[in-house]
Amino acid sequence: MTASVPDRSPFHVLWRAFFDQFFVNESVTSDQHLHQTIVWILVVVLVPGAFLLIMLLPEFEEAVIHARLGLAPPTVVDDLLAWIALSLTTYSMVTVGFLTVMAWNALTFDRRDAMVLGSLPLRSRTILGAKLAALATFVGIAALSISAVNAVMFGLVTSNRLGAVVFLTHVVSMFVANLGASVFIFAAIVALRGVVTLAGGPWLVAALGPPLQFLFIVFTLCLVVLSPAVWQISFVTASLTDWMPPAWFVGVFEGLVDPRGRSIRHSNSQPTCDAPSWGRRSRSRALYWCRLRNSTGRCALPSLRPPCQARSEPRT
């Protein structure tokens, strides 16, 4: 006697069908292949993030040691912290964007969906709800996994010897910022797909997919290969980085790391000679240094201050 298989609701069946569409192509022939594809994508997506951190974090540790020894101003540490936050947020955004454009054809309904589903006894809200649920699942898995890995690694390194509270604050703040950035780029691409479908029709949608995929592959590769060298290039200035969407979410990160950071930000309004101007607005920059200083129980203010920093108001 065989056990009866519970019947699934049309919503669940459709959700699963729409979700599968993000990963399938003509060569995927079974659920097993589908699972392999998902695992492959996750591995490919997560490894560059770890690679990025491995490249960036020694530089950060070196800056901390230099600052402790008084060989560099403390702002260098804070700026690096902000740069890493920006790098990871950019990475999350680019990676989720890359995954989204790779699933370009499945982001909205097409003629095939209309022809297959149109004659079935399904309510419009069931179809729409299943599609939205599939989109949410897709972005959820992609964004959560990338953000979680980034946040934990970021927290482990940047809260070294600062205690559990700082660790949790850094992890949660970075997670929220990365998640926000990921959802933002996903929503932006889905909206773009919808607008292009309405304005230009299927031909334009089909034509736009490959260039966007190419663009995001280039972004991803550039970010991984060139970082952190890219931050040393002179053209990466405040005027360039300030308008970049990842910077908006670094603001979220900073706000969460230090909700009372306005006074710090205001007190840091004077320029420093060694930090890019984007970093000057970082709320967390002085905070990190102060926490580090307090935790070690010694005042490690550098003995050699650059002249322009000497004009600043004392921090904390």
Binding site: S4, P10, T29, R112, V116, S119, L122
Partner: protein, 255 residues
């Protein structure tokens, strides 16, 4: 009984269907005939709930289908003219998807799928994706998908497109058999001899309007013509076929 009353469909200024009326009783196969652009596909899409009419109505047993479109769609099986299906799925996976969306119970569904695949001669290809299927094999999947839930109304739009002779012969007999079983069958096709063999009555459309509506035998008798082909030519074709074909030959040879 399926009743179509004064059906009209406009796409902007284009009148695809104009004041079309007919009825199909249980056990009957109604043929929709007409040249390209005559309104057959539009009529079929309205009958399957894919399009809403601009005017007129479709009733089943006296009830307007728009009153409960989901219930109506649940009673309809539709074989579309174009093989739109999720080609990344295998045949059984696609049929499972459609069966589940039509709420066919799982154990029954799996058994039905196996039987359909065997009977349609595509069981050995069950592990291949639909993208690798030939046109005829895809057509068989579409036919199976339309019949999985044992529909009361079956709408077939060029159902034999791409099928080999044996499969076409089997399915012609099958269409007659499901009608004999009490189903309401609407059969749209360009192939006059198939319509003549399968349909009990035909509606001949031209420019969205009905130009003939009767049984094949009555149409032949009324117009004193020997075949449905001749009836169709008399009602629809305005041009001299020989003249047009000769002109095509000349165009082909032109240097």
């Amino acid at each position: 009984m399926l009743e179509v009353r004064n059906l009209t469909k406009h796409y902007g200024a284009l009148r695809a269907v104009e004041d079309l009326s007919f009825e199909v009783r249980a056990g009957e196969v109604l043929g929709l005939l007409g040249p390209n652009g005559s309104g057959k596909s539009t009529t079929v899409k309205i009958l399957t709930g894919l399009l809403k009419p601009t005017g007129g109505s479709v009733h089943v047993d006296g009830t307007d289908v728009l009153a409960n479109p989901q219930a109506y769609k649940a009673s309809v099986g539709y074989v579309p003219e174009e093989p739109h299906l999720y080609s990344y799925l295998t045949g059984p996976e696609y049929l499972q998807l459609i069966g589940r969306l039509r709420s066919v119970p799982e154990p029954v569904l799996d058994e039905k799928i196996d039987r359909f695949l065997h009977l349609l001669g595509i069981y050995d290809d069950r592990y291949q994706t639909l993208s690798s299927y030939s046109k005829g094999m895809r057509q068989k999947i579409l036919i199976a998908a339309a019949l999985l839930h044992n529909p009361r109304i079956v709408v077939l739009d060029e159902p034999f497109s791409g099928l080999d002779v044996t499969a076409a012969r089997i399915l012609k007999a099958f269409v007659r058999a499901i009608a004999a079983d009490g189903k309401i069958v609407v059969f749209s096709s360009h192939v006059l001899e198939v319509v003549e063999q399968v349909c009990s009555r035909v509606v001949i459309l031209k420019d969205g309007r009905t130009v003939g509506h009767d049984s094949v035998a009555n149409l032949r008798a009324t117009l004193a013509l020997p075949s449905l082909d001749a009836v169709f030519a008399a009602l629809v074709t305005e041009e001299n076929v020989d003249e047009r074909s000769q002109a095509l030959v000349e165009a082909m040879k032109a240097r």
